[in-house]
């Protein structure tokens, strides 16, 4: 009888214990009230997004990712490698999170093997540029489709430019665009019978360069200037239409590790040649530790009046498998995400 009572007491305490644990767990996992909430009201063809938020608690930020058809938008693919059949299009989704208190416009373009290509986006036709408008705190995904590509190994990177139509020539605005207002996501693609990531040999840039010396201020990055190897940033300029405009793209490895990089110049977000006398619109560099150089570049100024945006992309580790944990220690130390230069405002006047 005593044993029975003892068992009852033990069971009772056990149950109480489990209830306590569940209660604590409930406290631990009970969701906090959201800091913001978005509602979507559709009337006819119009959809109105409205957002409520606590402005003292939210923070402004912005995120993107690419995920395949088969994955949910709340999952992050475990691989950056995609395999498609010969003559197949690449169909994926771009997820964008505009965690900001105001709506924003984003210009989207893609580079296939470091060349800007037209692609379908959000049921729009093949185009080089696509635009989306995001409501405050909106998170959305968009289907995109890249036309069939040759058999073998490819890199595809999608870029989002925030507020592409902001053209202030104010220096502080220009400085604020340094390594900012742009995000990107790259995937590696195998087409046809290719079974492993085996990129084509990269043709290193062989045009004229100037050494800046190891004491130059730049490290693992780029800076656009008027004079080569200068540290005075080029923010804006008044330029003559249909004339050549010269500038310098200064690039540098870190003093402690080498870098490999692709440099892509853009004018009004369209890829353009590095210089008038060449058709090269991308340049690949392998810089040894401490190597710092200047590349003389120029563009042909458009005739249209207004401010034109000159921008150069720094794309680290081109044609490197993004899934490969065996990347060399040196490459691994390189800053891993693509960065934009300062957006240079080139003002074409009526006179």
């Amino acid at each position: 009888m005593k044993i029975l009572k003892l068992c009852t007491v033990v069971t009772l305490f056990g149950l109480i214990g489990i209830l306590v644990i569940l209660a604590i767990s409930g406290i631990l996992i009970s969701p906090k009230p959201p800091l913001w909430a978005m509602t979507q009201n559709t009337s006819g063809n119009d959809t109105v997004y409205s957002t409520t938020y606590n402005k003292d608690q939210v923070t402004e930020s912005f995120g993107i990712k690419i995920f395949p058809n088969s994955a949910g938008q709340n999952e992050t693919p475990s691989t950056a490698l995609r395999k498609i059949g010969q003559n197949e299009s690449l169909e994926e989704y771009l997820w964008v999170s505009n965690q900001m208190t105001k709506s924003n416009e984003f210009l989207i373009f893609g580079l296939l093997d470091y060349q800007q290509i037209p692609f379908e986006f959000n049921d729009s036709i093949l185009k080089l540029h696509h635009t989306i408008h995001m409501a405050p705190f909106e998170e959305s995904s968009f289907r995109f489709k890249v036309p069939p590509m040759e058999n073998g190994t490819h890199d595809f990177e999608l870029f989002l430019v925030m507020n592409p139509n902001q053209h202030s020539l104010n220096d502080s605005f220009r400085l604020s665009t340094d390594q900012a207002l742009l995000g990107s996501r790259r995937i590696n693609i195998l087409v046809g019978n290719a079974t492993q990531y085996s990129p084509p040999p990269v043709i290193k840039y062989i045009g004229p360069i100037q050494s800046c010396g190891s004491g130059y201020v730049l490290n693992d990055g780029l800076l656009l200037t008027t004079k080569s190897c200068d540290n005075k940033a080029l923010f804006s300029d008044h330029v003559n239409p249909q004339k050549t405009y010269d500038y310098s793209i200064n690039i540098a490895a870190d003093k402690n590790y080498p870098v490999s990089v692709a440099i892509v110049p853009l004018l009004d977000y369209y890829q353009v040649p590095l210089a008038m006398n060449t058709k090269e619109n991308v340049a690949f560099f392998n810089l040894s530790a401490g190597e710092k150089i200047a590349v003389r570049a120029n563009i042909f100024v458009p005739k249209e009046e207004g401010v034109h945006e000159l921008l150069v992309l720094w794309i680290p580790q081109p044609y490197v498998s993004l899934d490969d944990d065996l990347r060399s220690e040196q490459l691994y130390h390189q800053w891993a995400t693509s960065e934009p230069s300062i957006r240079v405002g080139l003002s074409v006047g009526s006179g």
Binding site: S61, F62, G63, I64, K65, N74, T76, Y93, S140, S184
Partner: protein, 184 residues
Amino acid sequence: MERHAARIMLAALALTPMVSAVSPESSDSGVITQHLSPAEGAKWTGADPEKDIGVGGMLKMKTAVKKSNLSTLAITEAPHWSAYTDLWRNWWSASPVYCDAYSRSRTGSGSAYDINKIALRERVWRDGSLYNDQTQTKYNSADAQVNYQYSNWYTGGTWTAQSDHTFELSGYTSWYPVTTDSLT
């Protein structure tokens, strides 16, 4: 039209590079941004909060978020991440100018919490000219820092600094905040 408004706030964002809008941090909430008082800033930089000029700086803090809601039951404590930048100068002289930037990963009790990758990139500008461009990337570490000091007979002008921070830990959403500061 393929457009789906997401309804889940803490979406899995690992390996999601973030655009530097004002910052490239992860898009979930829970980030606290503060412009520190001189007394608080001095704890990071060692400056004299009573006398030195421009002490304070920008601090962003966040508790790392698990990728999956299911793992909320896990016993492992999430790390607390801090990103900080401060530009300041000594009160007794216009020279030197300092810029101190930190990425830190800590436990709730303040001990070092090693993560897979912690990194920092700092650029310091003076009147539109680049004066410092420096990165520090560490693996299986709790700290990355860049401490810049510029000394000359004249150090006036408008100084601005921007730091890109990286925090990556397996099983947690990565975080890429940006901190800035200025000094005139």
